[in-house]
């Protein structure tokens, strides 16, 4: 199950963060997202470590914690997407599929003429799409 997704701007400014747990662990999740940013920066700035994923938008598993797995994605426009899940057995294809759909939803949200680049995403349509994509996560491994 996905417990948190986040969009972070190129100056590490949060653009969107949404958790999907009943429990009151928002702070903890925010902290995880925050820590993952450093991992992304390190990977991107030290290409050797990223190995075969060089320049690919999908950054793969950023780091596993005891209870969560954290995945990252970095767009060509230097925007980071973070996915935090509690699933232990996650298929790579599912995560890639998730990010592809998430990126499309993000692309539409920033295409709203009233969206100001670098400002938080407040779109209701975006929130709805994200919720749909999150719910569909892992349901079709084929995607």
């Amino acid at each position: 199950m996905i417990v948190c997704v986040a969009v972070v701007g190129h100056q590490n400014n949060p653009l969107y963060i949404q958790s999907f747990t009943e429990a009151d662990d928002a702070l903890k999740l925010h902290h995880i997202v925050h820590c993952s940013l450093d991992v992304i920066d390190e990977r991107v700035n030290n290409p050797k470590k990223s190995g075969p994923l060089l320049n690919e938008t999908f950054l793969g598993l950023l780091y596993p914690t005891e209870n969560y797995k954290v995945y990252g994605y970095l767009t060509n426009t230097k925007v980071k997407f973070i996915l935090v899940t509690t699933d232990l057995d996650v298929k790579d294809a599912d995560v890639r599929n998730f990010f592809r759909r998430f990126h499309a939803a993000y692309g539409d949200a920033v295409s709203n003429p009233f969206h100001v680049p670098g400002k938080k995403i407040t779109s209701r349509t975006f929130a709805e799409s994200v919720s749909t994509i999150v719910k569909a996560f892992g349901l079709s491994s084929a995607g």
């Binding site: 320049n55 990126h103 692309g107 295409s111």
Partner: protein
Amino acid sequence: MGREVSESCIDSLVTEMVFSFCNRFYADKSDLAARRIEAIGYQVGHQLSERYTMERPRFSDHLEAIKFICKDFWSEVFKKQIDNLKTNHRGTFVLQDNRFRWLSRMSVEPSLETGQEGENKATEAMSMHLYFPCGIIRGALSNLGIPCAVSADISNLPACSFVIRIKA
């Protein structure tokens, strides 16, 4: 293939936008009109580069990003690629389109009555139409992390060169 509209929609919208800003909103203040038109292009380019770079690896340097503008981006927007790309390897790139779509139907008549003054006016009117595509290029590159200045030059209609100077 996504949604399409007739080319006349975008052509007439851009024509009217340039006309309104130059003749209604900022009549006789062509520099202000130019800045607004460029800003509109900037927003469009910024948004388009997000859309057109989905599902492709990140660019590793400026040249790769410029090549993307010349090929994929230009094809999406103008249905053809840039014909010629030149660079001085110090941050200046010249993109030449031998048949720039938005100039392909633009023409005036060399006229004896209007003379030099008329000629200058016609040239200025034409050049106002270039701020929009310049803004698009600047917005697209800026969103890819490449701040730059873009200018355009109509050498020989309908050919057009865009000069990109990347800010250090």
